[in-house]
């Protein structure tokens, strides 16, 4: 049996893709590998039955620093991000791993599933909710959509959908009104569990989008989780979009993303000395402080995409009791707590 240690220290979204590769490796070569990982996000591997503790000084162990050069062909080739590390391992180790599923592979322990959600801790009653991320990292401001548009979406569904806002403390996540505010209050594992309990997700192209596809749904809520992704033209849809998500993109509609994603980092320079501020990394077409591709996606379109899941009959809006249960937990933010 071959022993592998797979290494990667990139972002959580990347690590989530590596979970898929490990799953598909074992599915393609059952009983032939023992696998362990060294990554930047240990919490994504908790309870993963495909992980066996291995020592790097074990002479039988092969350590592989995992990359995904496939991204350089992502605009023109028919690959999803979920295949990225798989293709790399296939090339590196002369394997033929076949992708099984268009999603990462995250496991929750039975005990974790029994725990009440962070939302229920506040509402005291189990209510359906959607998770919303209305911002992102400063490295990639080109992914941001306008806060007031997120607010329009939230306002439109007032009394019908309870949104729970999340976001990492040191990232840009302007506060929304009428939401349960969990910004800065979830580590990765807590976010995984929050997504598990959620009925749907609204976000840009972020880790949350990948989690929406990778984390199993709660019993009785359908087999897939609704997710609206406000994507614009930064990434090619075939690389990022999950089959059951509504992925709102503009690839093919603007000259700057006519043939695929532009992969630009920032809308405008932030003056922080980062290489993301270099002209080659800046959006070429800015409208009202937003990349034009993001500007073209209206709040109405996002609202419409959310509605589609309800019109389809899979989901029901909040009952009056559920709405009332949420009210005491909703805080009207006073001010932006971490300014841009």
């Amino acid at each position: 049996m071959r022993k592998l240690i797979l290494k990667n220290h990139q972002s959580p979204g990347d690590i989530l893709m590596l979970t898929a590769t490990v799953r598909d490796l074992h599915a393609s070569y059952p009983g032939e590998f023992l696998t362990d990982v060294r990554t930047s996000v240990d919490q994504l591997w908790q309870h993963n039955p495909l992980i066996t503790p291995l020592r790097e000084d074990d002479p039988e162990v092969t350590a592989v620093r995992c990359n995904y050069p496939l991204i350089h062909r992502s605009n023109e080739s028919p690959y999803h991000f979920v295949q990225s590390f798989t293709e790399y391992l296939n090339d590196k180790l002369s394997l033929q791993i076949t992708p099984q599923k268009c999603a990462g592979d995250v496991y929750l322990h039975q005990q974790e599933k029994r725990w009440i959600s962070q939302v229920q801790e506040r509402t005291r009653k189990e209510i359906p909710f959607w998770v919303i991320a209305a911002g992102g990292k400063y490295d990639f401001t080109a992914k941001w959509w306008a806060s007031d548009r997120y607010q329009q979406v939230v306002d439109h569904f007032y009394g019908k959908i309870q949104f729970v806002q999340v976001g990492e403390l040191h990232h840009y996540h302007p506060p929304l009104r009428g939401v349960i505010d969990l910004r800065g209050l979830t580590d990765v594992r807590q976010l995984v569990r929050l997504v598990y309990h959620s009925r749907g997700v609204v976000c840009g192209v972020t880790f949350l989008m990948h989690l929406a596809a990778a984390v199993e749904t709660k019993a009785g809520t359908g087999q897939t989780r609704p997710c609206i992704v406000i994507a614009g033209g930064r990434e090619p849809p075939q690389w990022e979009a999950y089959p059951h998500h509504q992925f709102l993109h503009t690839v093919g509609a603007l000259s700057c993303c006519e043939t695929g994603g532009c992969w630009k980092a920032r809308t405008l320079p932030l003056g922080d000395g980062s290489e993301k501020d270099l002209p080659r990394n800046l959006c070429l077409n800015v409208v009202q402080g937003m990349p034009r591709c993001m500007h073209m996606i209206s709040a109405e379109e996002v609202i419409r995409s959310i509605q589609m899941y309800f019109e389809g009959g899979r989901l029901a809006y909040l009952t009056r009791e559920e709405f009332c249960a949420a009210q005491p937990t909703i805080r009207q933010p006073i001010a932006q707590s971490f300014a841009m």
Partner: protein
């Protein structure tokens, strides 16, 4: 050099995918193969530089039956239709074929490209147009969207976009008003050339969608605008092209919660077709449409078309073009399909006979 004849007896859409596999075979194994095809729809292979006429009686020629077993597993893995033949062919030929481009591989000769379009034959001037397919085959009625909604879309762009309606004779393609009517007037090669000239395409999941990606654009722009009214019948990752606006409901209804429903007809037609068996009939019908198709409104389609114009890549008709379009539509109405049924074939003669 290995010489291979590829046998394939699939639909035209599927053959378009085979053209991609042949392109990628030669790209992955340059100089190692001579390839010929024995397939339906030879129009799809014309002027293809990867095709060499081979003698099937030559003992040195390998014969390969091409299939896409991946189609049966298309619901969940992250594969596009384009992978179907690619993987199968690679396995049969014992070579690794890497996909290169996200599109089929159709070729037009320089002469074909120099010809004016069927639309220009009618308009007398070159003006931009979109091709619309407002129906489909009777075997897959589940792909149909409502005629009235197509009409709302066409009306919304009156004097801004010239729509040209196409559709095979014998299939269901209800007449739209305010369009140039080329239903029943394009053979496959003519359709390819029409797409070559088209600025955009509006269609359900059908050959037209694949052609809109596979056929090169007239002015060398890298892509052609295309809005696909898909519903929940097919898996998105299996069908969607990157630069298309693909309107789907996968994940929104219980019948397509995780993936395509794989059904064929909205209602039974009582014709004894395999598509009429109970397991092929839609389980959630609203009015005359599958619920998934009913969920997609005309405003959704209008917004998706507008996106290409809002982005600045396309322009609406100019004042002069509007006049030409109006005149042509009025003239085209005189040759409507319903009238064609009452008299001889119209005086339309294809300009070429390849």
């Amino acid at each position: 050099m290995r010489r291979v004849i590829l046998n394939c007896d699939h639909s035209a859409s599927t053959i378009v995918m085979l053209t991609a596999a042949v392109r990628d075979l030669h790209s992955s194994c340059p100089g190692q193969f001579q390839t010929d095809v024995c397939a339906r729809y030879p129009e799809l292979w014309r002027h293809n530089p990867h095709i060499t006429r081979l003698d099937p009686r030559d003992p040195g020629v390998e014969q390969i039956d091409c299939n896409s077993p991946l189609t049966q597993r298309s619901a969940h893995p992250p594969f596009h239709f384009i992978h179907g033949f690619l993987r199968n062919l690679g396995s049969l030929l014992k070579v690794e074929i890497k996909p290169t481009l996200f599109r089929g591989d159709l070729h037009l000769s320089q002469q074909e490209k120099s010809w004016m379009s069927q639309v220009q034959e009618l308009t007398g001037a070159e003006i931009p147009f979109w091709v619309v397919s407002a129906g489909g085959t009777f075997e897959k009625t589940i792909k149909w969207w409502e005629q009235e909604r197509f009409q709302v879309v066409v009306d919304a762009f009156r004097d801004r976009i010239l729509f040209v309606q196409v559709g095979a004779r014998g299939d269901h393609h209800p007449e739209l008003s305010g369009v140039v009517d080329l239903r029943g007037k394009t053979d496959l090669r003519q359709l390819i050339r029409l797409i070559h000239h088209a600025q955009g395409v509006l269609c359900p999941l059908n050959l037209l969608m694949h052609l809109s990606s596979a056929v090169e654009t007239k002015h060398n722009s890298p892509n052609r605008a295309c809005v696909v009214i898909a519903g929940g019948g097919q898996s998105t990752q299996w069908q969607r092209y990157p630069t298309h606006q693909f309107l789907h409901t996968i994940g929104a209804l219980t019948c397509c919660d995780t993936a395509r429903c794989g059904r064929h007809r909205t209602r039974s037609m009582g014709d004894g077709s395999p598509s009429d068996s109970a397991d092929k009939i839609c389980v959630d019908v609203v009015g005359n449409l599958p619920h998934c198709m009913d969920t997609i409104g005309a405003p959704d389609v209008i917004r998706s078309i507008q996106r290409y114009f809002d982005g600045g890549l396309l322009n609406y008709l100019s004042a002069n073009e509007i006049e030409v379009a109006r005149r042509t539509i009025a003239g085209s109405a005189g040759l409507s399909w319903s009238m064609l049924g009452l008299r001889e074939q119209p005086a339309f003669v294809p300009q070429d006979h390849l």
